[in-house]
């Protein structure tokens, strides 16, 4: 049980008066895809930023790949890659130059070869020599994810990787994410799309009003669903129904 790749305990974070995280706990097992689910402003990005050493928590601990994010940030950065909510690519460079840049900064051997392989894998070879400023949103996102994979970091954070993509591009990103986990990486992704969590994740945690209000596999979460309502619906409840039901009850309690 102690071999969890990500271990978050009692995380608190406020922006001035706004108490965004109020004791967040969750664990992620190695080689799994973990989805952090929450609506706008729930604090998903805040959690990801703390885990990727961009932000300091006010209280609580977070351990990534065995390293404490506050005490050993340099080791954490060696272990992770971050694909932020908004594509972090260099618009003035070409797609290939972006990849070479990251490969050099990650001190990889043969940056050109790495870039070409990734361009191929993400179907960007044709656009490789074009400035990223001319890329579509989906191409940008694919490049963004490709940049994050350089150096094969064991832990990958994807903050809303498919927001703003068309259905086709979404499926492509999903496939890449599955591939990553298939290669043994641990993936933590955040999403507002319940079907995305349903599609990809082995474990799902729902972040709501500053805490994790439910966590488990899709099957486990479905059991939390009030059976009385099951009788009314014909198909299996979707995660969306579960989410709405749980948030409704916690709203009543608080």
């Amino acid at each position: 049980m102690t071999t969890q790749v990500i271990r978050v305990q009692g995380l608190h974070k406020s922006y001035k008066d706004l108490h965004v995280l109020r004791g967040v706990d969750f664990d992620v097992a190695p080689g799994t895809i973990f989805a952090l689910l929450g609506s706008n402003g729930a604090g998903k990005t805040t959690v990801v930023k703390i885990l990727s050493t961009l932000l300091k928590a006010d209280a609580g601990t977070a351990v990534v790949n065995g390293f404490d994010v506050a005490a050993q940030p340099a080791n954490v950065r060696e272990s992770i890659s971050l694909t932020g909510q908004f594509a972090a690519v260099d618009e003035i460079l070409t797609g290939r130059e972006n990849l070479v840049l990251v490969a050099r900064l990650r001190h990889q051997k043969g940056p050109g070869k790495i870039a070409d392989d990734l361009l191929e894998r993400f179907q960007l070879t044709d656009a490789a020599a074009r400035k990223v400023a001319t890329y579509s949103g989906g191409m940008r996102r694919r490049l963004d994810i490709a940049m994050s994979l350089i150096g094969d970091p064991p832990v990958i954070f994807l903050d809303e990787p498919t927001t703003g993509l068309d259905p086709q591009a979404r499926i492509e990103v999903w496939n890449s994410v599955r591939q990553l986990a298939g290669r043994g990486a641990t993936v933590l992704l955040t999403t507002q799309y319940l079907d995305e969590a349903e599609q990809l994740a082995g474990q799902i945690a729902i972040l709501h009003q500053g805490t994790i209000i439910a966590t488990g596999t899709l099957a486990e979460l479905k059991q939390l669903f009030p059976p009385a309502i099951v009788e009314y619906v014909e198909k299996q409840p979707s995660l969306e129904d579960i989410f709405l039901a749980i948030t409704a009850t916690t709203a009543k309690e608080s």
Partner: protein, 255 residues
């Protein structure tokens, strides 16, 4: 981690140099205003305020101040580039990677030095065409280069503070206006002796005057007076204070 500092800085310098070479208009924009000022002062005001001896002599007199104005213009782009990086999220990507974190800033600072030097070469070439003449030998030129680079470094760190703490693109560049204006209240265009008391006191004791006088002496092949020490002290002083503040601002930003 610091073992990567040099390598990371070079890689990131290569990146921002590409930004410069792909938008050469920034270098041209930086050179145009000082060149226009030079034309204005030499051919419009020059007859009235020049120390005599024709346009060539006045260009020679003006050039040191014009060089400093060019640098002041140039560094506003450094603030702008830094601000854009932070906005675009690429900054956070770098911060989440196992690189020497200070390399991100140093790459911008060195880019500023290189691009300013290119702008300065353009300005000097135009000045030569307008009649600027110097008998300065290689050593004197080297000394001018040294002072110019030192001044650029010092004010670039001011630009870094502005870029890191700006709230908008316009804000990022606005800090450079006072620096652009400073040469006008100095010995750059007219001798300070003609100014009324308090203005003269300010002009004589602000950093630009000593730097201008030093460069002027070097160009004229005169033995540099004590002004060189004052100039160096100003550059180092501004540079060290701005660097320290920039580092503090950066730490606050990334933690």
């Amino acid at each position: 981690m610091t073992t990567h500092f040099l390598g990371d800085t070079i890689v990131l310098l290569g990146r921002s140099m590409r930004h410069i070479t792909r938008s050469l208009d920034t270098i041209i924009t930086v050179s145009v205003m000082p060149i226009a000022l030079m034309l204005l002062f030499v051919y419009v005001f020059g007859g009235a305020i020049s120390p005599g001896g024709g346009p060539g002599r006045y260009v020679t007199y003006l050039l040191p101040g014009i060089l400093l104005i060019t640098i002041a213009m140039g560094i506003s782009y450094t603030a702008y580039r830094l601000f854009t990086d932070m906005q675009s999220g690429i900054f956070e990507r770098f911060q989440s990677m196992p690189i020497a974190r200070s390399a991100v800033l140093w790459a911008h600072v060195l880019t500023s030095v290189v691009s300013n030097l290119i702008s300065l070469v353009i300005v000097v070439l135009v000045a030569l065409a307008m009649g600027f003449r110097t008998s300065a030998g290689p050593l004197a030129w080297l000394a001018v280069l040294g002072i110019v680079v030192l001044f650029t470094l010092a004010v670039t760190w001011l630009a870094v503070i502005a870029g890191l703490s700006a709230k908008s693109t316009d804000g990022a560049g606005a800090f450079s206006y006072p620096i652009i204006f400073l040469p006008f209240i100095s010995s750059a265009f007219v001798a300070t002796g003609t100014m009324p008391g308090p203005v003269r006191a300010f002009a004589d004791n602000q950093p630009v005057t000593s730097i201008v006088n030093t460069i002027r002496d070097l160009f004229a092949r005169q033995p540099v007076s004590a002004s060189i020490w004052t100039a160096l002290a100003w550059c180092l002083g501004i540079g060290i204070v701005a660097y320290a503040l920039a580092v503090v601002t950066y730490r606050r930003k990334i933690s």
